[in-house]
Symmetry: D2
Subunit: 339 residues, 4 copies
Amino acid sequence: MIISMLRGATPEQIEHVCDKIKSFGYSVHPIKGEERTVIGAIGDGKDKDRIISVMESVPGVESVIPILQPFKLVGRELKKGKTVIQMDGLTIGGDQFVVMAGPCSVEYREQILTTAEKVKAAGARILRGGAYKPRTSPYDFQGLEEEGLKLLAEARERTGLKIVTEIITTENIDLVNEYTDIFQVGARNMQNFALLKRLGRVKKPVLLKRGMMSTLKELLMSAEYIVSQGNPEVILCERGIRTFETYTRNTLDIAAVPALKQLSHLPVIVDPSHGTGKRSLIPPVSKAAVAVGADGLIVEVHPNPEEAFSDGQQSLLPEEFAAMMEGIGKYLDVEGKRL
Amino acid sequence: MIISMLRGATPEQIEHVCDKIKSFGYSVHPIKGEERTVIGAIGDGKDKDRIISVMESVPGVESVIPILQPFKLVGRELKKGKTVIQMDGLTIGGDQFVVMAGPCSVEYREQILTTAEKVKAAGARILRGGAYKPRTSPYDFQGLEEEGLKLLAEARERTGLKIVTEIITTENIDLVNEYTDIFQVGARNMQNFALLKRLGRVKKPVLLKRGMMSTLKELLMSAEYIVSQGNPEVILCERGIRTFETYTRNTLDIAAVPALKQLSHLPVIVDPSHGTGKRSLIPPVSKAAVAVGADGLIVEVHPNPEEAFSDGQQSLLPEEFAAMMEGIGKYLDVEGKRL
Amino acid sequence: MIISMLRGATPEQIEHVCDKIKSFGYSVHPIKGEERTVIGAIGDGKDKDRIISVMESVPGVESVIPILQPFKLVGRELKKGKTVIQMDGLTIGGDQFVVMAGPCSVEYREQILTTAEKVKAAGARILRGGAYKPRTSPYDFQGLEEEGLKLLAEARERTGLKIVTEIITTENIDLVNEYTDIFQVGARNMQNFALLKRLGRVKKPVLLKRGMMSTLKELLMSAEYIVSQGNPEVILCERGIRTFETYTRNTLDIAAVPALKQLSHLPVIVDPSHGTGKRSLIPPVSKAAVAVGADGLIVEVHPNPEEAFSDGQQSLLPEEFAAMMEGIGKYLDVEGKRL
Amino acid sequence: MIISMLRGATPEQIEHVCDKIKSFGYSVHPIKGEERTVIGAIGDGKDKDRIISVMESVPGVESVIPILQPFKLVGRELKKGKTVIQMDGLTIGGDQFVVMAGPCSVEYREQILTTAEKVKAAGARILRGGAYKPRTSPYDFQGLEEEGLKLLAEARERTGLKIVTEIITTENIDLVNEYTDIFQVGARNMQNFALLKRLGRVKKPVLLKRGMMSTLKELLMSAEYIVSQGNPEVILCERGIRTFETYTRNTLDIAAVPALKQLSHLPVIVDPSHGTGKRSLIPPVSKAAVAVGADGLIVEVHPNPEEAFSDGQQSLLPEEFAAMMEGIGKYLDVEGKRL
């Protein structure tokens, strides 16, 4: 790390800082400029965040600048290849472009079974559907809970699709684990560290959505929580961030996809439904996701958006979804990828 | 709610929308303008969010605008007076300005006992200190856990201060409940709805921090989660939001204090430590909090910030804290409030 | 517009509001709900913004919600087709995907001539290059001024490329007009209304970049300034907005492209250089721009980024640019568009 | 500056970077860590921004971190005291708390004269009023132009108040200079560098408003533009920044006041009208501005907000303004300041 001293820092303060750095087992490299002194500190990176915090509190210090990335296991520095998740012939992060589709919430049997069949016919490989819904208002529909999980499992049995569903509390992990193929962590729980730690000990992939006001580095640190507990199968998901723009529900950060791929070896998918919040914007943004190099999509599809319990305005009809899949198929051909 | 139709909406679409509204038991009030039709829908507000979501999905609809506030129990519309929380002679939300102070993390016995004595001497009434720490990195200090809670309890016994400490998962509620006087929900958990629901069933006040990405309405909806489960004692806390500005750690939204007080009857306090992230900015911002009408402060104080395990750069020394308390004392005199 | 009254508004207040609305020549449509009264106001939209502002100030009014879009000439409501700009066989906004490329700043003769030849060979149709640079610091390179314009003109003569260059003050319009084919308004000047008005009276297309702090509606209102003065040839440019994310220089709002096309008939292009600020992210984001339906790109290319006077880290080398153009060519084939 | 090399940077790349640094006349201080090499570069800071930009483009470089602040003349490093602006016995930046008040726009004679008298009676020392209005829509009221300036001058003559009014284009500087005492640069023009340069050559103070998405450093760089041209009398103004929160018009960044005062010797005032956009929030936020150490306020006051041509909902009535002034008076007594 680099410690920049205040312009008027005294020799005693500089010496105190150097001693402090050495006390952590770091080596000290002071650079005296005309206007101020800057000190390089080289060590093994252990306990780095605490040391930075300490050094920022030492008198005479203006700022402390870390040099190394804070994430290790999910970063590119230690692992050069890509993480490819294998699930019975389905691969996420390889040469397959995996589309996860289905309703925001599991609502009733007919709804989820019909949707499952239609999205499968159009090329989706994984069925999404919420059984536990994190809703802003306590008065909104909170999900069918275990009944919803059972309906998802029935849809899987009928169609052969895999299942992804959201987990919102550590207390439900065992129950959800009985049913799901992939655990989804929603944007609001991206920094629910108790939940992340527990998901680091399950044996199934985790789809980790970026928080609506989380940086890419924070997203990767949250992935690091899961991987550092022993579960290497994390799928990152860009789903839009919160900005001042209100025309779209969120601002989809398309450059996050190649940026995450440069920083990490984990697969990255895009959620154009939450990323835009508007049905008409989902198809063009989905094509952009293919173009930018994403490994897949997670899209909301509902057989009757007018009757949806949630998110109707950002759900595609099955026929709109099929048309969209055709559109992205041509791009996948260009890229040499398959659905 | 108001439904604005698209400019080119057909008479059939308009009729369909009207029928849809009536099917929810709402009355319909169409207003035909030269350029488009707008439809007023009046009902009892039940299931409102779902209805809005549905209506946004109906063909021909451009947008749906809710008229009523989404929160009820915490809002001003039903309860005109203020919520004043009583704790053995301490009152939060009344004519007392309550200062909560202490270290970011409970680290060791000497640290917490010394801090408790010093902040008490300076006028604080509640001791803060984290035993479970939500840290961005899995490699950072995660707190002393139950050992930390025991030290807090010891400090309470010695000083008579009340305790506030953070709860990060539903699984610890019973344990933390054995020790704490006030449960703190951190910014990252403001929309951890499973946690909020459980805290709605404890018999102690909850200090609810605004999420760094949360609007005032979302903060109030999260408070509504707690209150709607039976716990009316929620203290709101403005602690800065995330913006593009990086000079301060967060951007403290000072106008949020009077705005929340206009919208809600709940007490509102300010966290100038997280709100600024810089020790030198804490005293002026604390004075601003008094001036703007806050009911109290939560401030980080550490006897030796250089050695703090976390947040050293935003912790005051006990003597700095005492000086700050003197400064705000003069303002409290102007306002006719007491510490 | 819709006026929502406060819950406790008196009958006198409601009547006063109705009278006020009528005084503007609007018709009044009150809707009395159980909890509050909402009033529809229908008129010709003239002087609408002032009326909204007035109504928000009337006692008893909680909020005023406009129904109509504030832009007219650039909106879809009045003109259904697309604006296609013709320039000697080059068309912007039609079936051509127009790439504008060149250095951030014009620096010296060799630089601009070489770049022009190379970007032309790779398929660009328009040469970009700044002669007047709006720089954050007064101590940074401010551009070659007229000398730069002359070099651009020389490059045009040699290559047949059109020219686009930035205009930063009304005082230079006549001078820049002698040289350029397209006027560029930079992000920082998007709401320099004096400049926009003057550009509404030139006879050349204007490339209008979205401000880093501007909503889509504000961008369209700025375009409306130009068009309402008589110049219909405005090209909108998404170049990234400012958010909390610092990994990229800005957050490129990819959904803005189809959103703008739904709201307006004007052409929309993308600037992946400013939108990302990182050379390695430009090619994937450029492909995404094709996929999402943009009408073109504006990209920074420099023969020697290490020596660039500005923006070197977001400039492609000519050979990188050529490779990128090949990549997007395949997508254009899919879309049936040509360079 | 500090240059951090990529983890896998080759010895050749490191050597190339060192040579490059030396070519700018900087000395080189490489620090070889276990994981990567970091290079300190010490020089005179001349041409620093360009050098940073160049170094970021050199192969093998991961990032370049500047150490020195980019502003000089407005910074604390060169000038330790405070800038106090003297205007006929009025001082801005000293022990006086200067309140500027008046309508958003000058509308008609009676309006501005009445307002001037009333705000003077309540303790304001400077009259604000826009004659040229930068409005988002071309169809909104754009100001009375010179007629407005004349009315301001008449109000000055009658009351002895000083005048502050907005300048929106270089073309009007001479005209506005005939009338005004202080030039105001609005938020949308904070980076209109052509305008700033010209204002650096007038002999009157400039009130520089922070852009709604500008960092504190950018605000100071814009002040540096003015000061570096020869005009040292710049007053900084915090007026709220744009964030995701929509309840208030902007988010007033209260900590910006002490932060700017730590970074710069220039006076800092607060605009609670634009900072909140809501009349009821202006008085508490104004008190907070005193508490946090501001040197003054600029507040919108209108004798009849219902009839205001703009910003009615954020204008105080003269009697509300008088009540507010009384409230802040008590705080000024505590601070030992005078109106």
